[in-house]
Symmetry: D2
Subunit: 153 residues, 4 copies
DNA sequence: TTTT
DNA sequence: TTTT
């Protein structure tokens, strides 16, 4: 391949994720993410600029989103751009550009997953239950689990 | 600020850049960029997937684009996502997501800018000639860096 | 230029930043940053892997670090790799690779800077004072402050 | 996980890759990569700054490196930082920071892998021939994407 | 040396 | 529509 298509976002969810299950029980989550960048303009005035992104997550990441993300959550998303187009009922050509995430890092304190106890309550509006043992963690950048320090160099 | 909005693309221009000059002689360049990623599907078949992006460059970068980029050019673009919306004449809400570039690296051989002479002819789709000696490819044998700048550590 | 040298880190400071001022009152901050990635190995076992990085910040970013960062702070750092080498007193060749940051985003709740009130206490060990009015915010990726939506396309 | 450790490089190999095979026939490639960034200093003078990185690739990527990369090759590398430490024979503590790559894009024309034939000769420093028709540079006129996959939105 |  |  001779191409790269990469997006990196840190921002807050505008609403709770919308999660659906396709045939085969494949989860798809979708939410709006606001990234706000602050800088000084030429006059030295602090300018805050917010951009809204549509983020789409599949499978394990979608299930994580369903369980742990909600309106206001701060997340890091790494993914790629994808533009879809279609015609609405009036025959108007429509475009929508989305960020298809393949890595998700939750940045809210309450949402850390590094602990071995994953059943903490988490400020969630949707609720959850026991036994959230992350069978689907499936973090995308596959380990590779190299023989580490026996590098022959 | 608590946000990040970053895009990294490597791809080819679909057409020559469209460059305009706003009042104040501010250059704005716009072009379509195709990023093609190749991967294997579950059956092990090589799948090639092309995504088109609208890239917008301002000022100096737009002028570089005008001078050196053309249909087919391979470039690295680093920038941020920006979605604009408007209503067309029929009153339909329209959206367009663009990548506003704030870094540009030309990856075609003929387009190297490391020389101090930026007035080379370009737009050449094939031709070459003498003097393509790429002295900077013959780089000093690996490391051996200098003893820092003035870092007090 | 035909090169890219970019690093993106999210992690926690191992200690309070070490900040020094060079002649000309130029601030330089240095700290260790731990990035922890969790993934499943082939056996499905959750593996947590921590890497330590040396981060160096200059000028305005160094001053932000001094004021707002401390041991444990969660930050996003964007920068570039730089390897320095020297000989110690025994004449041994030494190398050190650092991440020179040119963007910093504080991800701890208490440390948000988007508010207009910047004098909040912040769990800091070093303390601060009133009137921290961010004269040096100087976020690196210069605004560019484009004439926005009067884009001629 | 609450960490990110990501490196993105574009540069030229300083030497042919050094490839070794560990037990289990696992390939490991190692090479030096020079990234050169050009910018203007305060006096407006063009400054060119080269940084050398040690890149390590595993398995399939190492095999690609062996087949297609050589001294001077221009590549995009995406990976993560890893610092190893050890003591040399004299008992001196040594450190080495490497970029462990998990994505590789070859940016030299001759090295395009978009074809399904990966067995091309490479190591050729100049020659060319028939069949370099790059049909994928003649891409379909911009957008007009397909109506999504099966996304339920 | 961090974080959960 | 978020966040501070």
């Amino acid at each position: 391949m001779r191409g790269v298509n990469k997006v990196i976002l840190i921002g807050n969810l505008g609403r709770d994720p919308d999660v659906q299950f396709l045939e085969g029980n494949i989860a798809v989550a979708k939410f709006s993410l606001a990234t706000t960048e602050t800088f000084k303009d030429r006059a030295g005035k602090l300018i805050s600029q917010t951009e809204w992104h549509t983020v789409v997550l599949w499978r394990g990441l979608a299930e994580l989103a369903q369980k742990y993300l909600h309106k206001g959550s701060l997340v890091y998303i790494e993914g790629r751009l994808r533009t879809r187009s279609w015609e609405d009922k009036e025959g108007n050509k429509k475009f929508a550009t989305e960020v298809v995430g393949d890595n998700l890092v939750m940045l809210d304190k309450r949402m850390d997953l590094n602990s071995s106890d994953h059943s903490l309550p988490h400020h969630s509006s949707s609720g959850s239950g026991p036994g959230e043992s992350f069978p689907n963690l499936e973090m995308p950048p596959p380990p590779l689990n190299e023989p580490a320090d026996d590098l022959p160099f």
